[in-house]
């Protein structure tokens, strides 16, 4: 992703093509010309990877630890989050986030009640949305709801985990029936098990009609198998690519899941078709089919066994660490999380606690590149924006095109592996342009379904110096302060000097420029 002009690949003929094909990329000095000052980033970087005592250094700067933690575990810091966090502290905040039943989500819940599809059963959905056009509208409600929940729900870590599992067990919402079944799956699988045990989530997903349809398992019968689900179960959902299984294991896994199907009476429910199930002896890696119980029970038994494989724990924990901590997470962090998984029967909460408690959690503060949804939610939360559920179809379609341009329409990733997660995957010219335009459009009020009270971050600026206005705005929007270079540059845009006290009219005129400068900056692409 960097300029490598002049870095001609050397002709290394005779060496193994697999090990030395090209000159490696030069490593750039990461020296962003920041508008924003991050005195705490260096502190956290030093602390990262150290012992527990190093983490105590962070607690000497509790505000910055809190900013980092909230940025990573939520979709961004709102004014209310800050007040709450600072009043109650890290431990209480995390306890609450890990127990979302304690959080009052009634405001966002009642708002989303107007998206009727979200509460329907599969038969109701299939009856209510009889054609592709109407099904797309229902799926549109699910997609917009994901954005609204990211921006507005108090159950932030819960919503982040729902998104994580939606990627991990990706089902592309495409085609009428699959779109409608995805609505059910989101509610009954992802949202039901997001902070529970992985083994329960795995069983729920395996018997989810959306997944059964997406990876074709609903058709698979004894003597006439389909390998699609079995392969992705081992490769993506549990063990990891090529991680301890061979082709025979895929075939035998497919045999074990023959009969896991969809009830054709409604097309909407799970049905174990005994007649389609392969009842022969099955051995998959170290697992052997039990001699008692039903074929369905055996599938559940195998899923529970898979969930507790060290490879599974390591694979999923690594993905969690990439999502929440760093593109290239510290192996010690993965080990700590994997141990928590294996000693807690694949419960997710102890894994997340182990992650947050590990010193490496702090190591990449401010360096994790935001995915598009992270970016827009972070910005809308900073603005304390509200998203309407009563817009027109046309307005939501227009917003959908914006999400498409940004590259992340929820539930639209076209392959079973889910949206990617690292900076090289997401950093691109077109992506940055879409982000910049989004900032300009939101601040210009260009989206009728997104509103925010500009007065919130306008207030308190009258009578202040230019330098104070810049700092207060940066503080309000991204919890940073301005560097000297940043102030100097903004002065060239506003025509002010650091000590100048602009009039109310001048502030009104220049605040959008200051806002864009902050929200479209390189720093704002990271969390």
């Amino acid at each position: 992703m960097i300029d490598v002009t002049g870095e001609a690949a050397e002709d290394t003929a005779g060496t193994d093509a697999t090990t030395a094909p090209v000159a490696s990329e030069p490593t750039p000095t990461v020296d962003r010309r920041s508008l924003l000052r991050r005195p705490w980033a260096a502190l956290l970087a030093v602390a990262g990877g150290g012992a527990v005592l190093a983490a105590c250094d962070i607690t000497s700067s509790p505000f910055r630890r809190s900013v980092h933690m909230v940025r990573r575990l939520t979709y961004g810091v709102t004014p209310a989050t800050r007040i709450w966090f600072e009043a109650h502290g890290e431990a209480a905040w995390l306890d609450e986030q890990l127990d979302p039943a304690r959080l009052n989500t009634s405001a966002v819940d009642s708002k989303l009640a107007s998206f009727r599809s979200l509460s329907m059963t599969a038969p109701e959905l299939l009856a209510a949305y009889p054609d592709t056009g109407s099904a797309a509208i229902a799926a549109g409600e699910l997609r917009i709801a994901a954005v609204i929940r990211a921006v507005e729900s108090p159950a932030q870590l819960f919503e982040r985990m729902v998104e994580f599992w939606s990627d991990h067990f990706n089902v592309t919402a495409q085609g009428r029936v699959q779109q409608l079944l995805k609505i059910v799956e989101d509610r009954d699988v992802m949202r039901t098990h997001a902070l529970g045990r992985f083994k329960d989530l795995l069983v729920a997903d395996a018997s989810s009609p959306a997944m059964l349809l997406y990876l074709d398992n609903y058709l698979s019968k004894v003597g006439a198998i389909n390998e699609n689900y079995a392969r992705e179960l081992l490769e993506l959902h549990t063990l990891g690519h090529d991680n301890g299984y061979v082709y025979d294991d895929i075939v035998n896994t497919a045999r074990l899941f023959t009969g896991w199907s969809i009830d054709s009476a409604t097309q909407g429910g799970f049905l174990f078709r005994t007649a389609n199930h392969d009842t022969g002896p099955i051995t998959i890696m170290g697992w052997t089919r039990p001699s008692t119980g039903s074929g369905y029970d055996h599938g559940v038994d195998f899923l529970h066994w898979l969930a507790m494989r060290p490879q599974t724990a390591e694979h999923v924990c690594r993905k969690l660490a990439v999502r929440f901590v760093a593109d290239d997470p510290d192996p010690a962090l993965i080990t700590a999380m994997t141990n928590a998984w294996l000693s807690n029967d694949s419960r997710i909460i102890p894994v997340l606690r182990a992650m947050v408690a590990h010193p490496a959690f702090n190591s990449a503060a401010g360096k994790k590149f935001n995915r598009p949804l992270d970016y827009i939610a972070q910005m809308l939360r900073a603005l304390d924006a509200r998203m309407s559920t009563s817009g027109s179809v046309t307005q939501y379609q227009a917003f959908g095109r914006v999400l498409s341009g940004l590259g992340q329409v929820p539930f639209s990733w076209p392959a079973p592996n889910g949206f990617p997660d690292t900076e090289p995957e997401w950093l691109s010219t077109g992506g940055l342009i879409a982000r910049w335009n989004f900032v300009g459009d939101v601040l210009a009020g260009a989206y009728p379904t997104i509103t925010f009270d500009g007065g919130t971050f306008r207030s308190g600026l009258d009578g202040r110096t230019a330098a104070e206005i810049y700092d207060r705005t940066a503080e309000a929007l991204v919890l940073e302060t301005m560097t000297d270079v940043g102030r100097s540059f903004l002065n060239t845009q506003t025509g002010w000097t650091d000590g100048y006290r602009p009039t109310a009219a001048e502030i009104n005129a220049q605040l959008p420029v200051i806002g864009i400068a902050i929200l479209a900056s390189p720093d704002a692409q990271y969390r």
Binding site: S24, I225, N226, N228, W436, N437, A446
Partner: protein, 403 residues
């Protein structure tokens, strides 16, 4: 605050395009007039390349059909393409009836086929196999750049156009990882202003902020440079994103922007179930779409007089030889590659047929041509980079589909 001076460069390709346009004229170009219009004057390695990646694993034998092979019909009792339905290529292979326009291009010598291509690594994971293809490798160990990036880096210069390499999507493909490629999801949205149209002051502001050397800043600066160079080019507004992306690519190749390589993707080829027949079903629909995307793109280039573009079509793996229990095909090995346009030695099927054998418990289409021999040929003939540079350690054997 001023922007960096734009780096408008006339790269190789644009002069050839202009010459070809002058030779055949930009008006009234028909397929037949171009049929024999070999890219005269275009020496080896002066072309431009489009890489089309069919994500999901396109089935070889439904696309390029071995219609004389009894074992093929025995292996696929319900989904084989009947011999009397195929569009014959050479008496041994035929195309699916849903791709008549590609067949016409083949007959006109403008499209070639390489049958039975594979990666010796034989990874049957989508994601493992795609990574290996895009890195042009048999193992990911120690590999840090995509195969196209290696080609471009081998001939890079400080005057390279910011448009030299493009992915027709906002996310840049892995094959270009390691080169500063542009992601252009659509021309229509590749500019400042968004839906509000607010641009005042935005460019100098961003230009200042994205002025450093961190990857995000370098990328941002390239975005601003590209916007500046692109100017007021009108992009496609087609609803179908693939159709739109191909149309935008033709526009970009037509401009003097220095475009040398573009990558583009289509999805949905993971046909595990209910593939249908020669006349109906998902495979027919996928191929009909591909026929129209590719033939429209070539016709668009022809109409613009752009005669130096070679297009190659690939996928991560072919599918099983035998159909599965659900009217589809699980992941396999040998694939068919299509090559179209300027540098192709078209009208011929390359590659060698071998009857499938049971391997790892299943029968795959035997891969008899190493994918590096096809990519290496493109590298040499189109981009002017030696295959041994791109695939060190691989003993390169020309396939002959391009020259």
């Amino acid at each position: 605050m001023t922007l960096t001076p734009t780096r408008r460069t006339f790269l190789k390709g644009s002069a050839v395009a202009a010459g070809a346009a002058a030779a055949v004229g930009t008006g009234g170009v028909t397929l037949s007039t171009l049929t024999n219009a070999t890219p005269a004057g275009a020496a080896t390695g002066t072309g431009r390349l489009v890489v089309v990646f069919l994500r999901g694993g396109q089935d070889h034998l439904s696309t390029v059909v071995p219609y004389t092979r009894p074992s093929y019909y025995a292996a696929r009792p319900t989904i084989a393409i009947p011999a009397n339905a195929v569009l014959d290529l050479d008496g041994e292979w035929g195309l699916h009836p849903a791709v008549p326009r590609l067949h016409s291009l083949y007959q006109a010598g403008r499209l070639g086929v390489v049958a039975c291509v594979g990666n010796p690594a034989h990874d049957e994971s989508h994601f493992g196999a795609q990574d290996l293809w895009e890195y042009g490798a048999t193992s990911l160990t120690g590999v840090s750049q995509g195969w196209i990036a290696r080609c471009l880096n081998a001939t890079a210069s400080p005057s390279d156009s910011v448009f030299r390499a493009i992915t027709a999507a906002d996310r840049v493909d892995l094959s270009l990882r390691g080169y500063s490629a542009l992601g252009v999801g659509s021309i229509a949205s590749f500019g400042l202003g968004g839906v509000s149209g607010r641009t005042t002051g935005l460019e100098p502001l961003l230009s200042h902020e994205y002025g450093g050397v961190a990857p995000v800043e370098v990328t941002g600066r390239r975005a601003l440079d590209a916007i500046d160079e692109l100017g007021a080019v009108t992009g496609s507004n087609a609803n179908d994103p693939v159709k739109r992306a191909f149309a935008d690519l033709a526009t970009l190749f037509d401009r003097d922007l220095g475009v040398e390589v573009a990558t583009i993707n289509t999805y949905g080829w993971d046909t595990h179930a209910n593939m249908g027949t020669a006349t109906t079903g998902s495979m027919r629909d996928l191929l009909a779409g591909l026929d129209s995307y590719l033939a429209d793109f070539q016709a668009d280039l022809d109409a613009r007089g752009v005669a130096d573009v070679t297009t190659v079509v690939m996928t991560e793996f072919g599918r099983r030889y035998d159909q599965n229990g659900t009217g589809g095909l699980d992941h396999g090995n040998g694939m068919a590659m299509l090559v179209m346009g300027a540098r192709v030695n078209g009208g011929h099927v390359y590659g060698t047929w071998e009857e499938p054998v049971v391997e790892h418990g299943a029968r795959d289409v035997a891969a008899t041509t190493d994918f590096r021999d096809v990519l290496g040929g493109l590298s040499a003939a189109v981009l002017g980079v030696s295959p041994t540079t791109i695939f060190p350690g691989h003993s390169y054997t020309p396939v002959g589909v391009v020259s």
